[in-house]
Symmetry: C2
Subunit: 336 residues, 2 copies
DNA sequence: TCGTGATGATAAAAGGTTTTATCAGATTCC
DNA sequence: GGAATCTGATAAAACCTTTTATCATCACGA
């Protein structure tokens, strides 16, 4: 660790201390060129002793690889971005790559500014992330000379992107309820113009089959309330299970059901989507929900960038990563 | 913007295109040395035409300033970190500084790894952030040769840190309720071993005076429920206002009050703390709460680092930034 | 006409590392 | 024994900027 007022040690210092030339020192440390085993060991030992750590700037200048990548996000709130960023940096730190985080706040000017700064820094690649799937990434991204990976965001055709497997997640939820003997499953979800909403709804229909019914609204608890009020005040058979488009809606649903004295999970089972723990842990009863494994998405995006920067080819197209069902108590069954 | 397969333009290209030497080009672009006004303009024009952007690595190598800073956080969830990071980068991007985000996940090994990577990159400064105020930052930080600023985290003595003004925030809440005619205000809050909890409780006591009562618990909704059940089932006078330690507790409180048919805000006013919008916007009625202005904290931390890297001196010690009361409907009054 | 100063441009060094080409010395082969 | 081969090490170039020191050129005053 570098202490106050002590100049950083350079490879020059190592060479001098080991009584060897700069190039030999470099070769010894990196295992390149031809070096005598004995000198190699000596150089390495000396380097460790005096606490030499190579200057990444100088190294990057020559190799044209900065060993850093940029992460461009429009998420101000952090619910989606930070878990992904953690996954990205977790996977990259061991390979000596660091991550620049750039919050664009949905402002194109800011996005451009950050992008230029990243390029000036010679980043090895860029990961673009959006909170709304349908927000288009800046068009410049498609033309860059460096690899770009999209996480939770749709890139231009022929690019590499990672998404949660919304369809599989939805099936997970529906199958879980069916497995617990529920036969009248309703789907209350967000706005139909979200791609993810349409995918989940389609999977729900296919998995549940007959009598499928989807209610589109917005992402709020309020909409959950409203939907329940509507459904339970109209004539006809009532659902015995509800698959919600996200945890906020699920929370509204559970609260509304309690208000009209319908027991969860006894009378109606509820499943959410997101596993946003502030919500899903705090509903009464705690919510069984689908986790999108954001950290894993980040990890995979990081690995993809890593391969690309090494010049390896990565298959293009959308990769959808499995969701996981987190069983709590809103459906009864094993954990109920 | 750099297109595929096109080598980046260097200052060498600019010099050649402008028919001038490299040093003149540099001088003209940076306004250093002596240059004829006419040549200066020409060089600048040419540079813009061919899309020259200086290589930050090369620049940093010489100046020993990388124009990048590191942000070290132990927050995996992102609720606190990302707003701060957004503030930091917002303030720095205009000065050409970028931000490395390093999530340490509370793992000392990882923290060390990231720290070393940051130093190898010659970062100009480091911002350390913690979610729990009492988590100690790595000891190595205190010995670094580069400036360190603590945001939402307590550094070693004689260092620079930024916090929300918890006392002022608490007073804001209490005074608001008093101003609306409430006279029996109760404080339901988190664990007493959090410093922020003690500060807020103290300010509440001082501001409210007589009959102050603080109930310590944890940060959950459940605790809010439990506290209400206790208070309203015991004999004696009941509160007409409740100041909660965070929004989750407030939500539990509001739900519990509804369960026992006590009207909010008519019978009891409720104020939260955090302005965590997933919660505060969704309670019924929407929650009046104290916003800690995390983005502003980030901004200030960024500015402090900026000054320090320029060699300016910044007063050491803890700076507490004002909180803001967000008035919604859980207290009645103007917005009720 | 010759120094003096000012002006504007340039060559060269510096920053820390990697890499290519070169070199000296030892070893092998005919 | 001399040429060829191999080994281990090194000098120097390269990456791209900024900065320092140097160098022409011209105008001016003596």
């Amino acid at each position: 660790m570098v202490e106050k007022d002590i100049r950083r040690r350079t490879i020059h210092d190592v060479a001098q201390a080991a009584g060897v030339s700069i190039s030999t020192a470099s070769n010894a440390l990196n295992g390149t060129g031809r070096t005598n085993a004995e000198t190699r060991e000596r150089v390495k030992r000396v380097a460790k002793e005096i606490g030499f750590r190579p200057n990444t700037l100088a190294r990057g200048l020559l190799s044209k690889r900065s060993h850093a990548i940029g992460m461009l996000t429009n998420d101000t709130y952090g619910r989606l971005t930070l878990p992904m960023a953690a996954g990205v940096s977790e996977v990259l730190v061991d390979h000596g790559l660091s991550v620049f985080l750039c919050a664009t706040n949905n402002d194109p000017r800011l996005a451009r500014l950050h992008l230029e700064a990243l390029l000036d820094r010679q980043v090895d690649g860029i990961i673009f992330t959006a909170t709304r799937l349908d927000l288009k990434p800046p068009a410049e991204l498609a033309k860059l000379a460096i690899p770009v990976v999209y996480a939770f965001a749709e890139g231009p055709p022929e690019n590499i992107s990672f998404f949660p497997d919304d369809a599989q997640g939805a099936r997970l939820a529906v199958e879980h309820m069916k497995g617990l003997g529920r036969s009248r499953i309703l789907h209350i979800t967000g706005p139909e113009d979200y791609l993810a909403v349409r995918i989940r709804a389609k999977a729900y229909r296919e998995s549940f089959g007959k009598d499928a019914e989807v209610l589109y609204g917005d992402w709020s608890e309020e909409w959950g309330h409203e939907a329940i009020d509507t459904v339970f005040s109209r004539p006809g058979e009532k659902p015995d299970a509800i698959f919600c488009g996200n945890d906020e809606i699920a929370r509204g649903v559970i609260d509304a059901l309690r208000d009209i004295d319908i027991a969860v999970p006894k009378d109606v089972a509820v499943v959410g989507f997101d596993n946003w723990e502030v919500i899903s842990r705090q509903t009464r009863p705690p919510l069984t929900t689908v986790d999108m494994e954001l950290k894993e998405i980040g990890r995979r995006a990081g690995l993809a960038i890593l391969s690309l920067t090494k010049g390896e080819t990565v298959p293009t197209g959308i990769t959808r990563l499995s969701c996981r069902l987190v069983v709590r108590q809103s459906c009864g069954g094993q954990a109920g």
